[in-house]
């Protein structure tokens, strides 16, 4: 399984522009971690339910009513680029 671990491809999925040196280093370091983790393959989990959260709470709802939170000014306060109440980004659609 860990020989199919392609750091370059994963980096693309994760939107990380890794350098070639980083890719090589991580391939080796994470390869070691994955080898350690392979041991989990031996555990008998046939009849076991997964635990996503420690507490089995479900359906935590609130009333569907609007409430005050950030104003647009506050929401934009940390923006690297903003104008007209909008976050400015490079063109998304060609």
């Amino acid at each position: 399984m860990s020989d199919q671990f392609d750091v370059r491809y994963i980096a693309q999925l994760a939107r990380l522009d890794l350098s070639d040196a980083e890719i090589a280093k991580f391939q080796s370091q994470l390869g070691q971690v994955l080898s350690h983790v392979e041991k989990l393959g031996k555990v008998d989990v046939a009849a076991v339910e997964p635990t996503a959260h420690a507490n089995q709470i479900v359906n935590v709802f609130r009333e569907d009513e609007p409430r005050d939170w950030f104003t647009p000014e506050i929401a934009l306060a940390n923006a690297p680029r903003s104008a007209n109440g909008l976050f400015i980004v490079p063109k998304v659609i060609e």
Binding site: A14, V33, V43, N78
Partner: protein, 481 residues
């Protein structure tokens, strides 16, 4: 005696009897910080003027009235930076208080100072901070632990009366052990995570670093409770966490997990912990051997689940709405370069690992399987807690290591978390308290004793910790700085 040597309980007495004032307490801290921060580097920033203004108006009759509390730089405090130890949040200033901060303010406390940490809480030494490492007050050439290393260091160096940190795989308990202070991770869902920058959403909890167990009870009371803004926080009633302190240990059963007393533990750590366990027996507790058979898989399960959740949680750092943005290029180049330039190597490693284990074709083999083994780990604890009130064991296999010792070997760093990780996976509460010292090259290094309690039984856990603390002098030892 300088005010900075006091615990919160002692400070409170002086504030309420008017022997000292909140501005004096803050000023004493600021003087102490000026003296030792050049060595410790526990704080990334502090807003003395804002804290002083609050100190002048403080109501000392509130539970934490006038008491400054240092905050790990991962918890949002309105108007202050929240760097998470990362360059990717350069320039960010919080526009709101985390729920724990709002609760601290209601209790009269003054958030003061942003504590250094491993970047995005990923690490066990605070060497992964983008702003330089923090130093262990007992030996500055050694690490204070991580990821809440700054928080632990400032409390241990008496640069803070107490601090808040966060614990995902041991990031409160491990630095508390290495720095010789008290560190408590509450049961998952006990304390709101609203305003805590998320690392692993099913594992993170905020908790206190303090000089004494009594102070930890005070802080836990101040920050606990269901929060409508955190749907994973539970509607469990908040008892008086100090209510059982001082009760003796007759009838208390403590479990020694055989898998936690293995070869490979530093002999001085092993000796100190076993001596503490004998001390517990002399105090009336019954020691029972228990087994947590899934222990060997805890690190593997954690590094799948935590990294998977982190890869999702850190997707928001993309240069669009806050923090740093890499210039030029189209939108994908902006994302890719912003994250490449803004994140450090450990964060990138974990995002890569987490993305991989969630990716198509691998999700079942890794993430889903890890979640099933997590159930087994949790069941181990449930079974043990049928026989004992708390589990007793070392917090770490070794005392504080030298800076640079592990930073080139991620797997070695990960394996150091072996005793703290399972508690987060099971979701229950745990704390580290000082239980002695190891000596290396003529330097005394603290050793931490870990107590893991039943879910939502923090009052009992604190009672058990307090009884030992009060029968020893470890909590009175001060770092030689």
């Amino acid at each position: 005696m300088s005010l900075t040597l006091l615990s919160i309980c002692e400070l409170r007495r002086k504030l309420r009897s008017r022997e000292a004032s909140p501005p004096e307490a803050l000023d004493a801290l600021e003087t102490r910080i000026g003296k030792v921060e050049p060595v410790i580097h526990g704080y990334l920033s502090r807003d003395y003027a804002a804290a002083r203004a609050l100190a002048e108006k403080a109501d000392v009759n509130l539970p934490l009235g006038g008491v400054p509390i240092a905050i790990k730089d991962v918890i949002n405090v309105s108007g202050e930076p929240c760097s998470c130890g990362s360059r990717i949040l350069d320039g960010y200033k919080a526009n709101y208080d985390a729920t724990v901060i709002a609760k601290l303010r209601t209790a009269g406390a003054i958030p003061f100072g942003r504590c250094n940490m491993d970047e995005f809480a990923m690490g066990s030494s605070t060497e992964n901070s983008a702003f330089g490492r923090s130093c262990n007050p007992w030996d500055p050439s050694r690490v204070p632990g991580g990821s809440s290393g700054g928080s632990a260091a400032v409390v241990a160096a008496n640069e803070a009366f107490a601090a808040l940190g966060s614990d995902t795989g041991g990031s409160i308990r491990q630095p508390a052990a290495l720095c010789g202070c008290v560190g408590l991770k509450p049961t998952y869902g006990r304390v709101s995570r609203f305003g805590l920058v998320a690392f692993a959403s099913s594992l993170d909890q905020i908790g206190p670093f303090t000089k004494t167990v009594g102070d930890a009870a005070l802080l836990l009371n101040a920050i606990s409770g269901r929060d409508p803004l955190d749907s994973t926080s539970l509607d469990e009633p908040v008892p008086d966490y100090g209510g059982l302190l001082g009760r003796d240990l007759r009838g208390v059963k403590l479990g020694m997990p055989r898998e936690y007393f293995i070869s490979g533990i530093d002999p001085q750590v092993d000796a100190a912990v076993r001596t503490a366990i004998r001390q517990y027996e002399s105090l009336g507790a019954e020691i029972i051997e228990v087994s947590l058979p899934q222990t060997e898989h805890a690190v593997g399960v954690y590094y799948i689940i935590a990294t998977a959740e982190a890869s999702a949680n850190l997707a928001r750092f993309d240069g669009v709405r806050y923090g740093a943005r890499a210039g030029a290029g189209n939108i994908l180049e902006m994302y890719g370069r912003t994250r490449e330039e803004g994140f450090g190597p450990e964060v990138k490693r974990r995002i890569i690992l987490g993305t991989y284990v969630l990716s198509s074709g691998y999700y079942d083999a890794y993430y889903l399987r890890a979640q099933k083994v997590r159930t087994l780990i949790r069941d181990d604890f449930t079974r043990a807690f049928e026989k004992v009130d708390a589990i007793i064991c070392p917090t770490t296999p070794e005392p504080a290591f030298k800076a640079g010792d592990r930073s080139d070997d991620p797997l070695k760093m990960y394996l150091a978390d072996i005793f703290t990780i399972a508690c987060n996976l099971a979701g229950t509460c745990g704390m580290s308290i000082p239980c002695g010292f190891a000596e290396t090259d003529g330097t005394k290094l603290p050793v931490g004793l870990q107590l893991i309690g039943q879910p939502f039984q923090e009052a009992r856990l604190l009672q058990i910790a307090h009884a030992y603390e009060q029968s020893t002098d470890w909590h009175k030892a001060a770092a030689p700085i």
